[in-house]
């Protein structure tokens, strides 16, 4: 089963890898769902939705950079420590891939131990690629509001949505992005943004996220300079989001923590909404 994680060799075909990935995903899903079924009603500190942009600009490499960044962050000792040190010592995580239509890539998973964190990380790495064309951010927020957040399987002290993407909404949806953002905030949801400043909208995207996506008390924007920088940014975001501390304090203290990717300096701006 662990062979899936070996470095690819010439002998292994793409087909073989795909089959193994699907098989592993199915097995891990079954195990995790069985685990979650036993613990669904135990409260958690944070119910975290990671909303990942899979629009046309996100090719296979960029998709894997995002998923590997999320997986690596879940395995990070600082992140695991933050989870276990919470009042409940547990979180729920779900991943929604969004483009033309949002869809759940990873059902709600409970993490209350290092082993569970690594198991969920393995699931994330094995997720089959989901593709799309447009950047329908408002539709995604509507989906979270209507379908995902009402179905959190355990009481959560905080409900946090982590939106990442490399572009502004270009869907001309029936509802404007800030309108549905405000509706979510009305249900006591915190929406943080991780704009990826790569591509034609790099110069204006961060401000657009701040004006249209960020919402809720203590919410913040933490930009990634590029898709390669995504892993660093998501790790920092996780720690602040899961701990529930003031993002300004949280990210200041992170400066003293060894970054996951030592070659990548801690960058990205931070704006906190009170």
């Amino acid at each position: 089963m662990l062979e899936v994680f070996r470095a690819p060799t010439r002998a292994r075909t793409v087909f073989e890898r795909a089959i193994k990935r699907v098989a592993l995903f199915g097995l891990l899903s079954f195990i995790s769902l069985a685990a979650i079924a036993q613990q669904t009603l135990q409260p958690v500190d944070t119910a975290l939705v990671i909303a990942v942009d899979v629009s046309n600009s996100v090719d296979e490499r960029r998709y894997r950079l995002q998923m590997n960044g999320i997986a690596k962050a879940l395995e990070d000792p600082s992140v695991i420590g933050t989870i276990l040190n919470g009042a409940q010592g547990a979180i729920l995580v779900s991943i929604v891939a969004w483009s033309d239509r949002p869809q759940i890539a990873l059902e709600w998973m409970r993490i209350s131990s290092r082993e569970e964190a690594f198991a969920v990380a393995a699931l994330v790495r094995a997720l089959p690629r989901i593709t799309g064309e447009f950047t329908c951010l408002a539709n995604m927020l509507r989906y979270l509001n209507d379908k995902v957040l009402p179905t959190v399987p355990a009481p959560a002290l905080r409900k946090v949505v982590d939106v990442s993407g490399d572009g502004k909404d270009n869907c001309n949806s029936r509802i404007a992005t800030p309108e549905i953002r405000d509706e979510l905030v009305g249900y006591r949801t915190i929406i943080n943004g991780l704009p990826i400043l790569e591509g034609s909208e790099a110069l204006t995207l961060e401000n657009w996220y701040r004006d249209n996506v960020q919402g809720g008390p203590g919410s913040f924007i933490l930009a990634a300079e590029s898709f390669e920088d995504f892993g660093r940014a998501i790790r920092q975001k996780f720690i602040v989001e899961i701990s529930g501390i003031d993002p300004r304090d949280g990210l200041r203290s992170l400066a003293s923590v060894q970054p996951t990717n030592p070659g990548m300096p801690d960058r990205g701006s931070l704006r906190v909404r009170n």
Partner: protein, 273 residues
Amino acid sequence: MKLARDGWLRAILIACILAVFYAQSAAASDLTARQVTVRLFEAPAGERVDFNDLNLTLIDISGLDFKKAVFVGADLYGADLSGSNLSGTDLSYTRLDRSSIINTNFSGADLTDATLLRPTTFTNTRFDRSEVANFTGAKLVRTRIFARLDGASFREADLTDADFSPLESGANTIATVPHNMLTGADFTRARMRGVDLQQGHLDFAIFRDADLRAADLRAAELNQADFRGANLAGANFAGATVAGAQFAGAKGLQSAKGLGVAIRPEQGGLKRP
């Protein structure tokens, strides 16, 4: 004089505002999509959630598992039901017109006396089998359907007196095309007594062992259709095209109307006149 005129203008303005407000409130659905999700999520296991007689028009309730919910008399006009699991639900007497039913599962659902006029059934104009709605084992008694449902499964469904006829022209119609599109649809072992499929496009449709007694198939396109083992007693094929259709083992052919052509048993098909 000017004051009186201003008063009238103000009254007209207020009346307009009230009319718009009333129109909006009248059109609004009784529940939001979030409320629908919450009802389903919070329902005890095995309990059928009650949506009877509700106005659920124009809401996006796609991708939800309705757990055999009850919708009797509900108005689902324009609702997005794409990818939803409506298996085993009671949708009798509902209005499903202009709803979106891409990859919707209606298997075993009760759609008695429901209407399904011009739903959105595919993402675009291209046929995609993965997007076809599923009516396997559904109850569609007297259901009024006008739709493009190419490739849909109606296997073992009850379509007694179901009405697939072309829409009436004139006022209050939402018809823009003249035919139901059911190419390649599968009606295997379906109960279709008295069904009205006149003028339907049913090439390659499968009616194996179906009960088509007294069915109205006038002017339908049934080329390459498969009627093997079907009961066709009293069915009306007047004006239908049946090139290459298979009739081996079909029952009641003698009393079927409009089949004024020779059957070639060796091929199990009909010879064109």
